[in-house]
């Protein structure tokens, strides 16, 4: 199987373009897309630079979500089921697994059930659950209910709430 790095669709080997989203799958183009994601910043230590942008999520890895302007990052362990992200509301019995209320979810237009992160074999996907103000992955708005593969260092925006996602080994750095 050739998993599309863009939408996570599983293509047959030999496919040159994703049958689901038309993105190129062959090595040349994949290298090219990765190259554009390289950041040239001396401030970042070598270790984080070398893992920048990887889509592979190891068995024991955990996710760290930095919400912009928040002091403490969130540590999460995604499960095979969806890990829902949203805003807890007294009038609604549905609680998201990750409640963003402390980070200004209300003011920034986060929906009660906004998005979800799910774990595949060795990738993570992000899916928008029909939010009012949209979920943006690296600035691009997601289509509802369409999973997209996450990479280490991606920017995810829930409505106007900006977060960054990092993958980390359980043993720390």
């Amino acid at each position: 199987m050739k998993t599309c790095p863009y939408c996570g669709y599983r293509n047959r080997p030999g496919s040159l373009f994703c049958e689901d989203c038309a993105q190129p799958l062959h090595e040349d183009a994949r290298l090219m897309t990765l190259q554009t994601r390289q950041i040239e910043d001396d401030e970042i230590d070598l270790l984080s630079q070398s893992t920048w942008g990887t889509a592979s999520f190891e068995q024991h890895a955990i996710v760290i979500i930095h919400v912009r302007d928040a002091s403490e990052p969130l540590h999460l362990r995604p499960t095979a089921d969806q890990l829902t992200i949203g805003r807890a509301d007294v009038s609604n019995p549905i609680r998201p697994d990750l409640d963003l209320t402390p980070y200004g979810a209300m003011e920034n237009g986060v929906s009660r059930l906004h998005a979800a992160i799910a774990r595949n074999d060795n990738t993570l996907t992000l899916v928008d659950l029909g939010s009012s103000n949209g979920t943006f992955l690296n600035g691009q708005r997601l289509t509802e209910q369409t999973p997209r593969v996450l990479r280490d260092g991606d920017e995810i925006r829930f409505g106007r709430l900006v977060t960054h996602i990092y993958f980390q080994d359980e043993n720390g750095f």
Binding site: R12, P13, D20, A22, P24, D28
Partner: protein, 496 residues
């Protein structure tokens, strides 16, 4: 004798020095691949006759020596066109899941054959079937008249020309004749008026009759159908007529003007006969479109090209798409697929997609046999052919091969065309979410490729679908025909 123009040695894949035992062994080998009993694909059925004929000739010493003598008496081998087939990879790994491979076939006229035929201009037997229903009134009909005038100017006395105008009935404006009295022809065109509804069968039927009058294998027998409306109730009848016309050697190209015509139906007419279909955005573009089309026709080197694809029994043919000269999807369920005409100055290219089964054994193995036949107009040669057997190596070697640029380029654009087809399919099934998604993916890819305007159109249609559950007629056609045109690597100039 059963000799059919094919080289029996290459059909069986053996050298000319082969003994009778070699011939028998080779026949068994090919039959295991392509005999209709083991290979259900229509292409195999169509090609097996050549194999049988080749065996008949070579297994009989008398026929074989007669063939060898005739061959040496002939002029030295002179290819009129050649076919080059490129696979997307030359090595595949034995995997426990199905995998995909693409083949790109380019058919070229032989440079030697085209050089000395410059004086022998291609001769046309052309019929224009023009819609003159009420909706054509005004600017549209005027543009059509101007276009017809210019076409008459383009033709010469060797060409045969006719015009049929149709609404709910057909009228022969100019009966099929040599183009000698141009002013009289133009005068008759000028007198056309618009009235009535659109019944394409009426028009096509009259056009086929006119074309039949001078029907000849050495001519480009072509009907150019122009309409701006839906036809009702006579679609099956029309398609049947197109099939008959194709058998007789008449190609039908269909052009839709404006938004109100049935693109699926016109595409089907064209692909049944090997003609092309096109979308003319505005009446202002009619003249240019028709002119270009007729000019291309007079550049035809070989006509009535047909492609036969016979995959090995375990290989599945998934789709066939003509990349140029006029991009269009081709039907796969028939032994011979009409390809239309081969032009003097550019190749005809076809992209095929196959699926290999899981669990291949490590060996050097064949994928498919591909045959193209066609009529060489200037030389009056009927059913000239080119044949190619494609093989790959199944090996555990995992070195990454770079796919050929030509395939990557074509497939990248073809995937976009497929994406809008899938959006349409999703819409027909009422799956709005899926349709929106396909359109948004299409928009994303288009803008990544620098097709800004088309990307905007796709994005606008995605919103349109999300809100109204339907594409606009214009958007549907623009996306379909312009993503198709990307394959030609040139802008269509279809701006409004």
């Amino acid at each position: 004798m059963a000799f059919d123009g094919f080289d029996p040695f290459s059909v069986l894949g053996i050298a000319q020095t082969a003994t009778l035992d070699d011939v028998k062994a080779a026949f068994r080998r090919v039959a295991r691949r392509l005999h209709p009993d083991v290979n259900r694909h229509p292409g195999a059925g169509a090609q097996f006759q050549y194999i049988n004929n080749a065996y008949e000739v070579l297994s009989d010493p008398a026929q074989r020596s007669a063939y060898e003598k005739a061959r040496t008496d002939d002029d030295p081998e002179h290819p009129y066109f050649t076919m080059r087939v490129t696979p997307s990879r030359r090595r595949i790994q034995p995997l426990d899941e199905p995998q995909v491979i693409y083949l790109l076939a380019d058919i070229f006229p032989d440079p030697r054959a085209t050089q000395d035929s410059t004086e022998r201009e291609t001769r046309l037997n052309l019929c224009l079937a023009l819609d003159r229903s009420n909706s054509m009134n005004g600017a549209r009909l005027n543009e059509v008249k101007i276009a017809a005038h210019q076409i008459i100017d383009l033709l010469n006395a060797d060409d045969i020309f006719s015009i049929v105008a149709f609404s709910d009935r057909a009228e022969v404006i100019i009966p099929a004749t040599h183009v000698t009295d141009k002013p009289a022809m133009k005068a008759r065109v000028s007198m056309m008026t618009a009235s009535g509804g659109t019944e394409i069968f009426q028009g096509l039927n009259a056009a086929v009759e006119q074309t039949r009058r001078f029907l000849a294998p050495r001519l480009v027998n072509h009907i150019l159908l122009l309409t701006d409306g839906h036809t009702f109730g006579d679609q099956m009848q029309t398609l049947e007529l197109a099939r008959t016309a194709a058998k007789e050697g008449i190609l039908v190209s269909a052009m839709g003007l404006g938004q109100e015509w049935n693109n699926k139906f016109l595409d089907e007419i064209a692909s049944l006969t090997g003609g092309s279909s096109a979308y003319i955005n505005s009446s202002g573009a009619v003249v240019r479109f028709l002119n270009t089309h007729v000019r291309n026709l007079s550049n035809v080197f070989a006509d009535r090209l047909q492609l036969s694809i016979a995959p090995d029994p375990d290989v599945k043919l998934e789709s066939v798409f003509k990349l140029q000269p006029n991009p269009q999807p081709l039907p796969i369920g028939q032994g011979f697929i009409p390809l239309g005409s081969l032009q003097r100055n550019r190749p005809t290219s076809v992209l095929m997609q196959f699926e290999f089964p899981a669990g291949l054994t490590r060996e050097f193995r064949s994928i498919a046999r591909i045959v193209t036949v066609g009529d060489i107009l200037a030389e009056r040669i009927h059913n000239f052919h080119a044949m190619s057997d494609i093989s790959v190596e199944v090996s555990a070697d995992a070195t990454v091969e770079n796919p050929p640029t030509a395939i990557l380029d074509a497939l990248g654009k073809l995937t976009l065309y497929r994406m809008q087809e899938r959006a349409n399919e999703a819409l027909e099934n009422g799956d709005i979410r899926q349709a929106t998604r396909h359109l948004e993916n299409l928009a994303a890819r288009l803008s990544a490729m620098g097709e800004v305007e088309l990307a905007q159109q796709a994005r606008a249609e995605a919103q349109q679908v999300a809100h109204t559950s339907a594409l606009t007629e214009k958007g549907r056609k623009v996306l379909k025909y312009q993503t198709r045109h990307l394959l030609l690597g040139e802008t269509t100039g279809e701006t409004t």
